[in-house]
Amino acid sequence: MDNMLPANAPTLPAAASFPTAISASGDILDGIEQNYAAKDTESSEQSMNSNESAATRKLSSKAPLQRKRTMSITTRVGLQFFLTAVCVMVCAFAASAFPDSRSFQAFMWLTSVATCALIGMTTMRTTRTLQTIESELNQAAGEPEAWKSVRPIIGSAPITHSWNELLQCVGQSQIPIATDRNPAELNHEVVTLARAMRGLPVAWVITDRDGRIRFISPAACGLLALDEANEHAGKDLLQRLGLRDDTDESVREIRQRLLSDLRMVRERHTLKTESLTLQLRIRRSVLEGRSGDGQGLAWILTDVTQQDLASRSRDQFLMTATHELRTPLGNLQAYAEALQLEEDLEVEQQKEFCNVIVSEANRLGRLVDQLLTVGQMEAGSMVAVRNELEMLPMVQYSWDQMTATAEKKSQSLLTDFAAKLPTVFGDREKLQAALVNLVGNAVKYTPDGGEIIVRCGHDDEWIRVSVQDNGPGIPADEQSKVFDKFYRGSNTVDLDERGNGLGLAFTREVARMHGGDIDLESTIGEGSTFTMRLPVGGQSRSGI
């Protein structure tokens, strides 16, 4: 009884932290098990519970060390008996070797008896742990609730720890039973909630206060590129989120906030992995556990990369659109002002300025239309009429529209039409505008004296309208960009031609809306060919 401990002392960790010292002194001396001197069993159990998470953690980390090289008690007892037998045999042999010396024989007898007594005592010590457990259990025998009064023991033998662990587990399972709810109902609730949690399409993670993962949802596994089948408990969530990087001041700040005691923290964080960059919104709240079992942090991670991209491209669109709108607006103001202020303007000049004002106003109107159309199309809210259309008259019309301009630039605008074309299901207005755009583009960007050929033909599946010019051509790296909104080719600058970079974007959207598409072939110095294809009979793939 030299190892008395106060009732509420966290005995397990203390005992668990000195295992090597005791086992080093030999197996024979390990009988220092001690009953808790706990008069108040209830308080002892509470103390067990409050220390349980810490104790469990320590135990689980120390246990493998404990169990590494200890013989079982029965083996040890057997060995001790074997030792006794050997001793007695040696003594008997020694005694029979000297039959004449009575005193020596007497001494041998005495030695045998002393050895037996000594080993008997050590055997008792060896089995003392078992005896303590047995007496504890005997106390509780016969009464169903009496096992609650069974007390943990201290000592260095492995079974001591196992016994204490067993008691803890029993103590834990006692908690829900202590509530006034029906265990079956509770069980059902827990199972349903657990299933719901796993099934939620939300990336949630439950960690301890240091950010080490305890539970993780399948969605979070997906977000953090973790294999769902593997065990992730104990891994560092912050490491996974790239928040353990101390070199970056802002990262350190975010981490400190996330691991602070604040009940709710919201952060935005950019997670860079090898393959991609994610914009994450992190919301974490503190979990308050009852009697320490559920303490930790609950995290919800939301991937807002797409939202970010969308809002950025909307901002970009708005910015470019306002820029494009301000330009004709500025011209309108400037020319109107010039007319207003200058008194000695010649009639010719007045006319010229008025013409500019009219054309700028038209341009502004067209721009607004195109902006709306392209915007609507991208948003998928465009309403298209679907009629059966003859393509030839429409292509012819686009050609007619441009002949005047082409003549002014001394270009030859040639046609090569098939005699007959199948019909197309589509929206007349939009297709017509797209075709005029296509021919107009060629006339606009082909230098004076150039040659433009408008062709149309068909096969079983597609009607193709192509416009070929012998202009400067479009560099390979720009060929995919010319269909982007507001993109203007780099070699259009010196031509002094105006444009807003929406025409081809519009044309392509129209073609795609009708289930077709537009292709570009171009060689620098030789010219470009834009080919729009539309499905024969209007077998639309976009649902219009």
Binding site: N331, Q333, R488, S490, R498
Partner: protein
């Protein structure tokens, strides 16, 4: 004004360029034009420009790039500059004015009359200083008339 001043307009929109040239030429100044920063830079390097009006957003070489290129030329004294832009509030106005020592930053749509007022006021101010200190003129227009360039047809017609 004692001497006819030359103003260079760098602007990609031909319609706006036309009305700016018209308004400035009306006030008795010589106007030259360029359609992007690159050609504007070449013209400035030839000398003889007293005032620069440049658009901000142009293909190939923007107004900012033009000003940066000019700053990078050692020993070059950039003429007083007005930057025009159709960009709105997203620009850091004060930063731009300080960085390039701009006379003004004008947001489209703006009145060409305001622009000509700014230019004329500036020349008058400079002329006032010049009366006191003749050397200053030499510094501001060191290569004036070194490279006389024919007026643009339309400017000549109305000027």
């Amino acid at each position: 004004m004692s001497q006819t001043k030359t103003v260079l307009i760098v602007e990609d929109d031909p319609v706006f360029r036309r009305v700016l040239s018209f308004s400035i030429a009306k006030k008795g100044m010589i106007v030259e034009t360029a359609n992007h920063g690159g050609s504007g830079f070449d013209r400035l390097m030839n000398g003889g420009i007293d005032f620069l009006v440049t658009d901000l957003q142009m293909p190939l070489c923007s107004g900012i790039e033009l000003l940066e290129r000019l700053q990078a030329v050692k020993g070059y004294q950039c003429p007083s500059t007005v930057l025009c832009t159709a960009k709105g509030l997203e620009l850091d106005r004060n930063d731009l004015i300080e960085r390039f020592n701009l006379l003004a930053l004008m947001h489209k749509p703006f009145s060409p009359r305001k622009l000509t007022e700014v230019i004329i006021n500036h020349f008058e101010e400079v002329a006032g200083v010049v009366d006191k200190d003749q050397e200053a003129t030499e510094m501001i227009t060191p290569t004036f008339a070194m490279n006389p360039i024919a007026l643009q047809a339309d400017v000549g017609h109305h000027g």
